[in-house]
Symmetry: C2
Subunit: 379 residues, 2 copies
């Protein structure tokens, strides 16, 4: 048989400014590109393995995990295949089918799937609705207490640190404390925060944190981070009864190849960028301000934004789409002409975007392009 | 904080001949190196995703999965993070905690962990013991029937196609038929076969097959293959009740990055090399023959070998170790001098190795080096 042509080239990131928030935090710095080159083959990190991935000394996965644990302030940390796989492992270790967990109403779909795959029911903390869609500590507390009253026991709580719909940053420390006071272990989904902004799991009163290498830690996918306090190590990292070195929830080893090499190579770069998060937020706010100068473009979610992922309602562009010969495709196409990508084809009523990691000039160029399109698309 | 130096360079594969069987099948061909370069960033394959990884058309993941399904003759196929994660998904979907499955006695440790993580008990089919350690259809049948008698119901059977200890190739077609006749669904672990030798899941009467991209399909880790017949699609690929596009056992999406790009790029190369498997086996036999010319080196496992992974008992080298000033380290060090790696430091009583994918001259050079060491190490 002959293989089809899979079109295996990707120049989108080299030739354009990509506004897709999913892609902004996963771009490799030079050091990670070098690691990718050296560790591209199959089981490349396993040359000197004595049975435990987390203890490999060459390359120094053990040293890396020590640094990573300090960086996010947890007692133990493992790499997993992504934030979702980290959440699944926590739910799997702590809950039985039929149990109930509490999750915030802005949780990523993979939180729902991690629960569903484990047969665990969810009680959801509603957000405040339009226009802010905020998860408040008060509502979290009320929902958690009601759930405990009703179900008797809540095995686990989950909070999304920064959600992927609005880029809202939740008050993790306060909600962590609420869960702690209620005696409910709590996991923080940091897929959009770890690697972008500082994470201090203990200061946030979290039992577990999960992060995403490909989403926010400048690593090749798929890879994630699962951090925990000492009290959970025994349960989460329990060894096999038959293979004494192997951790059951990890299925022995997790990241066996290029993704962990890139995550390791990127850590110094990620630590540096995290230290400049305040500047990045200020620039995101400036970007929002410029975007909102367009009549009919409004940021939704908490304002001023606390994250680079921002969501706009854009009746301005939707009105143009009604009259434009290219209809809803005009926005995508006009942006593409200007070497800007990452807004879905056909989408004009609203969109999410991020200019994270772009230079100030690039950010201005993007905002300027939207202005120009709003003003001239129907000319 | 300052990061430690992780020693993130790897020249072992560029500068030496690597006998580690784990590494032989995962070396990237040029096309996969190009894909690695283009798809190195984070979520690189997700630019044009409409919610289903397996349906992405650019790059053509959907076309690739069609080809892959044909290549191994299954009705449906997904990529997972590795063979172990594929086995876990099958056990998770088919079994409940407390259920029993039958596995062969040469199964990889990750088979045991996939069962243990699911709380599933195992009944093991013993191998024939020294020197062949074979899993026979007769013994599989007997064990399966006894298990059914004793437990009432066996939810799943697993067979290791080629084991990682002896490189024995099991009679999958016959054992598949035995399971089929007993009404027990069966999964074939092809981690050491898919990508090296032809796999025809239907001809082998298998309900499921799993493979490993990093072990045997010339792909960057971590990635695996999970193939199944049509009758299992509904269960294994069941969609979320809440997110209609998302498959629960896959947690939505699995391989989101470089590993799938390299697996795709390597498929034509892998198909080509699989077609030459008979030659490769012949060369492995020649290699064994040359090795056994050394007095005190004997291949164990089924003879003549049916796979490139071969295990030798090596009293010849163990005796030298007793007298050598470097004791057990001499073999590793003598090989290293000759630019040969992949035998563990200190190991002299026995070792596993593979010369898969090396040129005939390189294979001769390796066998010659062992001869030379046996003859001269104590000079």
């Amino acid at each position: 048989m002959e293989c089809q042509n899979y079109g295996l080239s990707r120049s989108i990131e080299r030739e354009n400014l990509n506004l897709n928030p999913l892609q902004r935090g996963g771009i490799l710095p030079a050091a990670a590109r070098e690691a990718l080159y050296d560790f591209g083959d199959g089981y490349s990190v396993c040359d000197y393995c004595a049975g435990r991935l987390d203890e490999i000394a060459k390359p120094s996965i053990n040293g890396f995990l020590e640094d990573l644990a300090k960086f996010i302030n947890v007692d133990a940390v493992r790499t997993v295949h992504g934030a979702r796989e980290g959440k699944f492992a926590v739910v799997h270790a702590l809950c039985k089918p039929g149990d109930t967990m509490v999750v915030d109403g802005n949780a990523h779909y993979t939180t729902h799937l991690a629960a569903e795959r484990n047969g665990v029911n969810m009680v959801e903390v509603p957000n405040t609705g339009a226009p802010e869609y905020e998860i408040t500590p008060e509502k979290y507390k009320e929902t958690l207490e009601n759930a405990i009253d009703e179900k008797g026991e809540i095995k686990l709580a989950l909070l999304t640190h920064v959600d992927g719909d609005y880029g809202n940053l939740t008050d993790a420390a306060k909600i962590g404390k609420i869960c702690q006071d209620a005696g409910v272990p709590v996991v923080l989904n940091c897929a959009y925060s770890m690697g972008r902004l500082p994470i201090d799991a203990k200061a946030m009163n979290m039992d577990f944190v999960v992060g995403s290498g490909h989403k926010s830690m400048a690593a090749s996918g798929p890879i994630g981070v699962l951090g925990m306090t000492a009290e959970w190590e025994e349960l989460l990292l329990q060894r096999s009864s038959r293979h004494a070195k192997k951790e059951i929830e990890m299925l022995g080893c997790t990241s066996r190849g290029a993704p962990i090499a890139t995550l390791m190579a990127s850590l110094p770069y990620v630590m540096e960028r995290v230290s400049k998060w305040d500047e990045e937020v200020q620039q995101a706010r400036n970007f929002v301000e410029k975007m909102e100068e367009i009549d009919g473009v409004v940021q939704v979610g908490v304002k001023p934004t606390q994250h680079d992922l921002v969501r706009f309602e854009t009746p301005a562009f939707h009105e143009i789409a009604q009259k434009h010969p290219r209809r809803g495709f005009f926005l995508y196409e006009e942006l593409k002409k200007r070497k800007i990508v990452g807004i879905k084809r056909g989408q004009t009523e609203w969109f999410k975007c991020s200019v994270y990691g772009m230079t100030p000039d690039q950010k201005d160029y993007v905002a300027g392009a939207f202005h120009e399109i709003a003003e001239t698309a129907l000319d």
